[in-house]
């Protein structure tokens, strides 16, 4: 399964801004992707799949766009 992964803020440091990722049949959640990128789950603030908030254990589908943000704020 192919998904597009987008990273934001300091998660990009030493990684990437946007990349295509091929997931195996056993690894189908945002948590799997986050762990494979060596991002600490505690640092994750918001996960979105196709522009909607999603839980870390959401089951991804082919061609999903997964966006991973650290804990950020502003206003």
């Amino acid at each position: 399964m192919e998904v597009t992964v987008k990273l934001f803020a300091y998660f990009r440091d030493g990684r990437f801004k946007e990349a295509a990722s091929t997931l195996s049949d056993e690894e189908t959640t945002p948590r799997n992707v986050i762990e494979s990128l060596a991002i600490d789950m505690d640092d994750v603030g918001v996960i979105m799949v196709n522009n909607r908030h999603a839980a870390a254990d959401y089951r991804l589908h082919n061609n999903d766009v997964l966006a991973i943000f650290p804990r950020i704020g502003g206003g």
């Binding site: 803020a9 908030h53 950020i72 704020g73 206003g75």
Partner: protein
């Protein structure tokens, strides 16, 4: 030093220093400005006439060493919205006023004749002086002139050309520790100061300290409070990327109003994002981290340099960048920075003016995306007061009416800021019900709708939005009274030690025994006082509505409309 009320009457050019009435003793910041406006300003008065007053008040903790406590509140009846108004900002003035024993400065009346004036405030005096040299000049020239005439340790509160011309989007600028500017931005308060023909207020430095009833308890509480702020990961990200870190996440959520509110995503988002801004600042040897007043430990401000590594602007915030960027389709941070600098110098609200510019783009006055033309119009038309400059400088609603545009994003004639209410419904409730026209800071539901702070409420659902906005508006009214920067709220919502420490500081400062519930009820009282003023000014529940296009035009990518009914909105006030 005992707190006093400093009063200036511009009609007969007299001043007085008065004792603080008992009812006002426990108030500060927004709680005090709104209480005084409600007590002394006739709600139906013309905002630019002799019966309006402008109230300037430091927060309850301003002038102490409490972290992030240096916000100044300015209140009046707004000429833009016709409602009560409070706008707050950092800079050095709040701390200096508090140390000078000035609990509030009340400016009333209008001078006869066409002279201009400045005010000079010290710990035991306030004087009215004629001003000639600086008329027609921008805010930076005022700050330089005060440093030349007196010295650069003085605090400055000033208006630029926009305030002198009484443009309805004119703001009031506050000098920061580096002699740059912070703005009490929204609602046209600069026009009110301009109507009173006051170009600036200088504040003399003083060695006096504010009284603290229980120093030991205060120090301990401030230690806990500061630690909660510093340890918070959101505070840390604010230091690195500034508030502009929001461009990408709001774009990803589909709530970034683009091309005069016709889409929820902007193709050029990456070019104007906090990440790009951070890289640019570092490359040009600016400062990603900077504080708008001494004692801020979050430091969301920054120094943004131009390509030649020379200072261009500071306090370069998400809302300004969104407005001139996505809403006007300008995907060039340097054009946006130039526009930001021009708006700071002439003293005009960067949200209202940029949204007005996008409405003008829709009207065909200029093209979407033409950042160079935006800068030309600001410099040549608005700052010089040409007819087009007046049209744009009086806000988005005014541009819409003048050119017959129906897609005009305003509530109570104030421009809707950087979050689309169709895709982020909680903030729509805040825009509708805020006592001051559309304003995200009044009840920042983005925290919970998008950022996952203080729980989570689905941004696209109608469920829970009214309660969310109400709770945040009440809490915000209280925080705005303490002198605290609103960005303490992220730590306050996340860290259970933070708010109790803030309450402990208030108690130690004044020798009182407030509980957290008392602070909440203070917030409720402030909101009700403001709402009552608006009702007496002629507003009704029918004014608590979004413009109709939000209910009729679906916005991409979610293809959603605003679907919360008037009856539902009205339940906001059931408390």
């Amino acid at each position: 030093m005992a707190d006093k009320i400093f009063r200036v009457n511009m009609t007969d050019l007299t001043t007085s220093i008065e004792d603080v009435p008992a009812d006002w003793a426990g108030l500060g910041g927004r709680g005090l400005t709104s209480t005084i406006v409600a007590a002394e300003v006739e709600p139906t008065c013309h905002p630019l006439g002799h019966r309006n007053k402008i109230i300037i008040a430091p927060g309850m903790l301003s002038g102490t060493v409490a972290a992030n406590s240096g916000r100044i509140s300015i209140g009046a009846k707004s000429p833009l919205t016709g409602t009560i108004k409070e706008a707050n900002a950092g800079g050095t003035a709040a701390q200096m006023l508090a140390k000078s024993g000035c609990k509030a400065l009340i400016i009333e009346g209008l001078p006869k004749g066409d002279s201009w004036y400045n005010l000079h405030l010290t710990a035991d005096s306030i004087t009215i002086n004629k001003e000639t040299e600086l008329i027609g000049k921008g805010n930076f020239a005022v700050i330089d002139a005060v440093a030349d005439r007196l010295n650069d340790k003085h605090g400055v509160i000033s208006i630029g050309q926009a305030g002198e011309m009484k443009l309805l989007s004119a703001n009031i600028s506050i000098k920061d520790p580096d002699s740059n500017l912070r703005s009490c931005g929204r609602g046209g308060l600069g026009a009110v100061l301009g109507s009173k023909r006051i170009k600036f207020i200088s504040i003399a430095p003083t060695d006096a300290k504010v009284d603290i009833a229980n120093q030991e308890a205060f120090t301990a509480a401030n230690r806990t409070f500061t630690k909660a702020l510093v340890d918070n990961p959101i505070s840390q990200a604010l230091g690195q990327y500034g508030t502009n870190v929001l461009v990408n996440i709001i774009n990803e959520s589909g709530g970034l109003p683009t091309r005069n509110f016709t889409s929820g995503q902007f193709d050029g988002h990456e070019a104007i994002s906090g990440e790009t801004m951070y890289d640019t600042i570092v490359e040009r040897e600016g400062k990603p981290k900077h504080n708008c007043h001494k004692g801020c430990v979050i430091q969301c401000s920054q120094i943004y340099n131009d390509v030649n590594k020379a200072y261009k602007t500071s306090g370069f915030e998400y809302e300004s960048i969104w407005a001139m960027g996505a809403d006007c389709c300008v995907d060039n941070l340097d054009h946006i920075a130039e526009a930001d600098h021009l708006m700071d110098d002439m003293g005009i609200d960067s949200i209202e003016t940029s949204v007005a510019m996008a409405v003008a783009m829709e009207a065909g006055v200029l093209d979407f995306g033409d950042g160079a033309e935006v800068c030309r119009i600001l410099k040549e038309e608005v700052a010089n007061g040409t007819p087009l400059g007046h049209i744009i400088g009086c806000g988005a609603g005014n541009v819409g009416r003048t050119f017959g545009v129906t897609r005009v994003p305003v509530v109570k004639n104030q421009a809707i800021p950087a979050y689309d209410p169709r895709a982020i419904k909680g903030i729509g409730i805040t825009y509708c019900t805020s006592t001051q026209g559309a304003d995200h800071t009044m009840g920042y539901t983005i925290a919970t709708n998008i950022l996952g702070v203080g729980g989570s409420v689905d941004p696209l659902s109608k469920e829970g939005q009214i309660e969310l906005s109400r709770n945040l508006q009440i809490a915000t009214a209280a925080i705005d009274s303490t002198g605290m920067c609103l960005f303490i709220a992220f730590a306050a919502l996340d860290d259970e030690k933070c708010l109790p420490a803030l309450v402990d500081m208030l108690n130690a400062r004044f020798g009182i025994n407030l509980t957290a519930d008392d602070v909440t009820s203070l917030g409720s009282t402030i909101l009700k006082t403001e709402h009552d003023f608006n009702l007496a000014a002629g507003f009704t529940n029918k004014d608590d509505r979004l413009p109709e296009f939000f209910s009729e035009e679906p916005i991409a990518p979610h293809n959603v409309v605003w679907d919360i009914s008037g009856e539902e909105i009205d339940t906001f006030w059931d408390f």
